[in-house]
């Protein structure tokens, strides 16, 4: 009926305390017309998945700079699947070595956005790939 904004969770799993990028993205996606739930720093995979479930988001965007992505991201994807949320788009941003991109995609990540990605690129990708719902 009315055009519904896409809802995106921006979360920072793990222990790195650098959330500038996540906040810039949250703000940027707001300006692109998304509803962005921001959960703050030092989230466990369980906390992120609980937030995604309660908020019924279309997209989970993970920001990781610590290097722990190969542990944290597959765990989050597995938890989402356990909860029946495999229709939620998962994206990762931050410092991710090229060699890790393919295994992350195998784990269920739709896209990895490295340094230099523009907000518009992220927004276009989400609009093109997030689930369409009732």
């Amino acid at each position: 009926m009315t055009e519904r904004p896409l809802k995106v969770l921006i979360a920072k799993p793990g222990l790195d305390g650098h959330d500038r990028g996540a906040k810039v993205l949250a703000r940027g996606l707001r300006d692109e017309g998304f509803e962005v739930v921001y959960t703050g720093l030092r989230q466990t995979p369980e906390m992120i998945v609980t937030a995604a479930l309660q908020e019924d988001v279309d997209v989970v965007g993970l920001s990781i700079l610590s290097g722990a992505h190969m542990t944290l991201v597959p765990r989050i994807c597995a938890l989402l699947r356990d909860k029946g949320m495999d229709d939620v788009l998962v994206t990762v941003g931050g410092i991710i070595p090229d060699d890790d991109v393919a295994p992350l995609k195998d784990a269920g990540v739709a896209a990895v956005f490295g340094p230099g990605t523009t907000i518009a690129e992220v927004a276009d990708f989400l609009r093109a790939n997030a689930r369409s719902r009732d």
């Binding site: 904004p5 703000r27 707001r30 300006d31 509803e35 921001y38 369980e46 309660q54």
Partner: protein, 345 residues
């Protein structure tokens, strides 16, 4: 329980109607059985005002009415989210299930929003007795979103003992939460202004409880004292035909440490018992009225924009813009059209 067999040759519209009802009932069944994902989905339907939501609410509304709906309102940065987090902790200590609807503003320009209240409400991942849902105001003024009351009813029906409704950061006149909640808590920060602020009309008039948060900051107790002094002059007796004036207690909290929060919860519980009486009846009537008016306004709005009215509306818009017609006459014409258009459906 619903009729699932549609007769052969049923129109596709019937099919859609049946599957909407089925889907709504499935979601209700699961949500009532404790499935949190189904509950989240129902809330999304309510927020997007889909046909599923309407069917679901017809079923859930009669089951609601047991929870205490507590509105938490006040200016940006006063500590509403932190206070909500402290109340969650206190309620969970007592084993009481609690839901939160946290509203943040939508951009009037892009429709986007940053919903940041969860940042202060963490660490309940393993606790099914806590459910936090952020909502964007989506163009609704008054401090809530248009779906907030319905979302609270869904939580109520799902068995949450307390529903905390956190408004957007409010100014002086966003008092809608008072019509939605059983108990309205106005949160102020120290040094919120002089006594003149406390005698102005608006937010403080609808408070059932006033909390001066950040009680460890200089001036907190003076602010509380000033508020108390001003409120002491509130008349005891209701004027004929008006609701009785409220006499809110003023409490001081430090939400970040939890200081004063047990006392706040005790005051909320006292208000809950009192609200079961005649004061509460007035609140419930006011809530029913505001809910019905909101739906009515929505439906009128939709009908005014509907296909049969659209060309007329466009012509009226142009006429009013060109100052060839006044807005009152244009509105009357649209109203007449809607009343007339009703007879054939």
């Amino acid at each position: 329980m619903s009729e699932t067999d549609s007769p052969a040759g049923a129109s596709s519209a019937d099919h859609v109607a049946v599957s909407t009802a089925e889907r709504a009932n499935e979601l209700c069944d699961s949500a009532l059985a404790g499935d949190r994902r189904a509950l989240a989905r129902l809330l999304t339907a309510v927020e997007n005002r889909t046909p599923i939501a309407e069917v679901a609410l017809r079923r859930l509304y009669p089951m609601a009415g047991r929870a205490q709906l507590i509105g938490i309102t006040g200016p940006p940065g006063a500590g509403k989210s932190t206070l909500v987090a402290a109340l969650i902790a206190e309620l969970r200590r007592a084993g009481r299930p609690v839901a939160v609807v946290a509203v943040d503003p939508s951009s009037p320009i892009t429709g986007g929003a940053v919903l940041g209240d969860r940042v202060r409400m963490q660490s309940y991942a393993a606790d099914d007795g806590v459910f936090i849902r952020s909502m964007a105001s989506r163009g609704h003024s008054g401090g809530l979103s248009s779906a907030t009351t319905a979302a609270a009813a869904v939580f109520d029906a799902a068995g949450f003992d307390v529903v905390l409704i956190e408004t957007v950061g409010t100014g002086q006149s966003e008092v809608e939460v008072a019509a939605t909640a059983d108990t309205t808590v106005v949160v102020e920060a120290p040094e919120m202004g002089d006594e003149i602020q406390a005698i102005k009309a608006g937010l403080l008039e609808v408070a059932d409880l006033i909390v001066v948060n950040k009680g460890d900051r200089p001036g907190a107790h003076r602010t509380a004292g000033q508020l108390q002094a001003m409120l002491a002059d509130t008349p005891r007796e209701a004027r004929p035909g008006r609701p009785a004036p409220k006499h809110p207690d003023v409490l001081v909290t430090i939400a970040a440490t939890g200081a004063g929060v047990p006392e706040l919860l005790a005051a909320l519980d006292r208000h809950r018992s009192a609200a079961r009486g005649s004061d509460g009846a007035m609140t419930r009537l006011a809530r029913a009225e505001s809910q019905i008016w909101a739906v009515l306004a929505d439906r009128l709005h939709e009908r005014a924009r509907s296909y049969e009215a659209a060309p007329v509306a466009a012509a009226l818009l142009a006429a009013v813009a060109a100052h060839e017609m006044d807005p009152y006459a244009a509105a009357d014409q649209l109203l007449g059209l809607m009343a007339g258009g009703r007879s054939d459906d």
